[in-house]
Amino acid sequence: MSQMNNERTGVSGSLESCDALVMVVFSPDCEGLEIEIDSPSIASFGEEMRKAVRETLESAGIFRGIVKIQDRGSLDCTLRARVETAARRALAGDVREKVNT
């Protein structure tokens, strides 16, 4: 993924069991929110997970951007926490070492 000048990226979480690694790219140039989830629960809970991600980002004031999630069986409250943290870090312009561009 290319890093444009007006994009800001935040990462949080981990690939440990019960956690999720979340990357949020806040990008005003995007049409909307593009959410990509890799999870063992995607077949059963994919829609709920997308809803949680979307609600959390919109609460943080992010309506345009890209979200990539590698889920390792996180609870809803964990996923929301990781997304919120990554969003706050993105808004703070806090680019972390874990970001793979």
Partner: protein, 297 residues
């Protein structure tokens, strides 16, 4: 005086670990400490605060006291911790670096403001004060009396011994001084005294010996850093059959005397006064918690 809750063990759960946060209540500790302070690297303070806040919102922790060790208000993280955690009304916060009554009063004022703003009865969230310095060790009575929220006194063994220049040993004699101060100050204030952690998670004999000794000294419980330490500490805090039997006879004599309106109680030729009754009540509570109360007959 506030209710005396059973706090034989207080288990630290790192605020960065979602799996342990989800299962925190299943290990059998009397109290859990969701940790935002020393167990969390500085770079993850924001993530842990949000993770613990969401866990408090979503997870039903049953049969266990929920406490959060926040960062001290003198750090860059303390105020944010209070603002995210107090609205969720955990049973108590563990307040580190509690070195003066002013530290308690400052926390109390902020907690009252946050409770009022979130329609929580002011005073709902208790404080367990953690003293970690030589200076704080000389002010424990004032710290304990600084707020009605104080439920217990605790101390940080590593920070305290570093501050006084002591060498840490397995025997722990370097902690004799602070342990005595914590117990006396707690008893004067009518709050609980809680001992610090035993760091070697592989030495169960050493843990049992230390826990047994601090119970004899008067402590009400001990912090633990690994679930496998819980049953060992509970075992050390379980009264012997002889202690339980005597406590039951004391309580029986006490109730009989009370029903007769008698002012003086005697048992086996020994006068039973208020401290003996209080000790008997504590032993029976510990025995009930351990599920080993004897049936008289």
């Amino acid at each position: 005086m506030m209710e005396r809750r059973l706090r034989r063990t207080s288990l630290y759960i790192p605020g960065t670990n979602p799996g342990m946060l989800a299962n925190a209540s299943v290990y059998g500790a009397d109290s859990i400490i969701l940790d935002l302070e020393d167990g969390v690297p500085v770079s993850e303070k924001d993530a842990a605060r949000i993770l613990v806040r969401n866990a408090l919102r979503a997870i039903r922790y049953r049969g266990v006291e929920i406490t959060v060790r926040v960062n001290a208000l003198c750090t860059p993280f303390g105020k944010d911790d209070f603002e995210e955690i107090i609205p969720l009304a955990p049973d108590a916060i563990r307040l580190p670096k509690c070195e003066s009554p002013e530290d308690v009063r400052q926390a109390d004022a902020l907690m009252s403001e946050l409770e009022s703003r979130n329609e929580i009865q002011p005073g709902t969230v208790q404080i367990i004060a953690i003293t970690e310095s030589a200076s704080g060790g000389t002010k424990l009575s004032e710290i304990a009396a600084a707020s009605p929220r104080i439920a217990a006194l605790n101390y940080g063994a590593e920070d305290y011994t570093a501050d006084i220049g002591a060498v840490r040993t397995k025997e722990g004699h370097e902690l004799d001084d602070i342990r005595a101060k914590v117990i006396v100050a707690a008893r004067i204030a009518g709050v609980q005294a809680l001992d610090s952690v035993f760091g070697d998670v592989n030495d169960m004999d050493g843990l049992y010996a230390e826990a047994f000794r601090v119970r004899q000294l008067g402590f009400d419980g001990k912090s633990v850093i690994h679930p496998r330490q819980i049953s060992v500490v509970h075992s050390a805090f379980t009264p012997s059959e002889k202690e339980i039997g005597f406590a039951e006879r004391v309580m029986k004599a006490f109730h009989e005397a009370a029903s007769r309106g008698a002012g003086v109680i005697a048992l086996d030729g020994r006068m039973i006064d208020a401290p003996v009754v209080a000790r008997a009540q504590k032993i029976i509570a510990l025995a009930e918690a351990a599920g080993c109360l004897l049936i008289e007959g």
